[in-house]
Symmetry: C2
Subunit: 279 residues, 2 copies
């Protein structure tokens, strides 16, 4: 008779990022199983304790924040300016993104009251700021923001209710017809700054949304780009060509840190930088 | 007969940060008033346009983010590690901070549903993380976080519904009796890192909350420190001495940028780095 780990044991092994290979081991007896569990669990706890000590003594910054640092440095080099906009946005801002009652995203929005919600994306605020800055500068506007966005997700391995986006936009930087080329060049440059080599640029065309560019690694979507003129632009008073890419910071941390679930690298009080805090 | 600026004119002058001296000017005639308004308004718009261009072309980062950068650099030098915790916290976390129905802060909390709210402060999450890290490291824990906190404020000149706090804590760093000395030394060092010289350290004693340390400049409270053993500690499972200071980033930006109202330097789509975007 073959024995497998108990549910409790498996839960702990998952928490410790043991990997499917080890979670699925089979044993000849309960005794052997428990002995092996103890060995594996102990080794993983030791490993995570060492990782946490390294974080406290050496790295000082979780991987997700290091990724943001690297993107920031790259964006400053490329001439972008960092902005900070509100986490709470108005329902009218959502409506301008066509997120009305028919839109699939509606049910995922966290509402504070009938008129205010937590932003599900950075785009609405960036539309406003880039338009106003263009009026002032009458020249190419390059801005970016990073921060929390909120969606009621099913909380699968790749989704969280609160996640971190970094979004840049460049307005009036390149002429009509050159946007996709510019997007691709910025995407390649960003991936270099982050240190990811095995990725694909996936373009898609839609009559409504125009042409989009996704940065995909394996089955994980790391970032998503778009450009204008876009059917939403006139609602925002934007009339120049633009390009923009939004990066899912925790997705990138999953990829770089080889984690199977996103919550390990997200904002949390139970995990820190991939390690569980209950050790 | 003396003429003063109209309400509309004054609103625009306030938006442009004209200063009370200029807002209260008196004129001999309506014509003279309007002529003067045009001159002042024009000069201020030009000034703000130049400020925005400097931000886009040179500084690349609003004052508030520069302050955070300076505090981060200083904290890394002092051996602190940066953490990221959730913006949404549970009602039980609030209760552990004694923010129950009788507490003055209760009415200022933004609720998402009956069990989740937007954090009004960083302390609850930091309590949890520092406790767990101490269990792992069995040594001094130095961590900090910065991010948005939320309170339903009357929205006066010094308050906003969404504001940015940077909070550091040091657990088991100094022994009993030395906490206030350590707090003061860290406060002085932080102010040096930010570049503020004219401030006072104000200590207060309360039977319930223990001894606290505020960093005050003029009438503006820039930061607030506390230490433990504290009456809340046992609820969090914290039993070692600790010290911590929370900085109001926009307050510090008001002080450094000489702005009269906090919303000019806060997260916004109408202001950027002290300047209105409608120019």
């Amino acid at each position: 008779m073959s024995e497998r780990f108990t549910t409790t044991q498996i839960q702990r092994l998952i928490e410790l990022n043991a990997g499917e290979d080890r979670e699925k081991l089979e044993f000849e007896s309960t005794e052997e199983r428990n002995r092996n569990y103890k060995i594996i669990e102990g080794a993983l706890v030791k490993e995570h304790k060492e990782k946490i000590k390294k974080l406290l003594e050496k790295d000082r910054r979780p991987l997700s924040l290091q990724i943001i640092r690297n993107l920031e440095s790259w964006l400053f080099e490329e001439g972008f300016t960092q902005v900070v906009t509100p986490t709470m946005i108005s329902s009218s801002m959502l409506e301008k993104m066509t997120i009305t009652k028919d839109h699939p995203l509606t049910n995922q929005v966290f509402w504070i009251d009938s008129k205010k919600c937590l932003r599900p994306m950075l785009a609405p605020n960036l539309y406003e700021v880039m338009r106003d800055l263009y009026k002032v500068s009458k020249d190419t506007v390059r801005i970016f923001e990073w921060g929390s966005c909120f969606r009621k997700e099913s909380q699968g391995a790749e989704h969280m209710n609160e996640f971190t986006m970094l979004n840049f936009v460049e307005l009036a930087g390149v002429g009509e017809g050159c946007q996709m080329e510019r997007l691709k060049s910025l995407a390649i440059s960003a991936m270099k700054a982050i240190g990811i080599e095995d990725y694909e640029l996936v373009t898609e065309k839609s009559e409504v949304y125009g042409e989009t560019l996704d940065i995909v690694s394996g089955e994980l979507e790391l970032a998503s780009g778009a450009y204008g003129p876009h059917f939403l632009d006139s609602k925002w008073g934007v009339f120049e060509p633009w390009v923009g890419i939004g990066f899912g910071i925790e997705r990138i941390a999953m990829k770089l840190g080889q984690y199977e679930t996103i919550k390990r690298v997200g904002r949390s009080t139970t995990f820190l930088d991939g390690s569980p805090l209950s050790l």
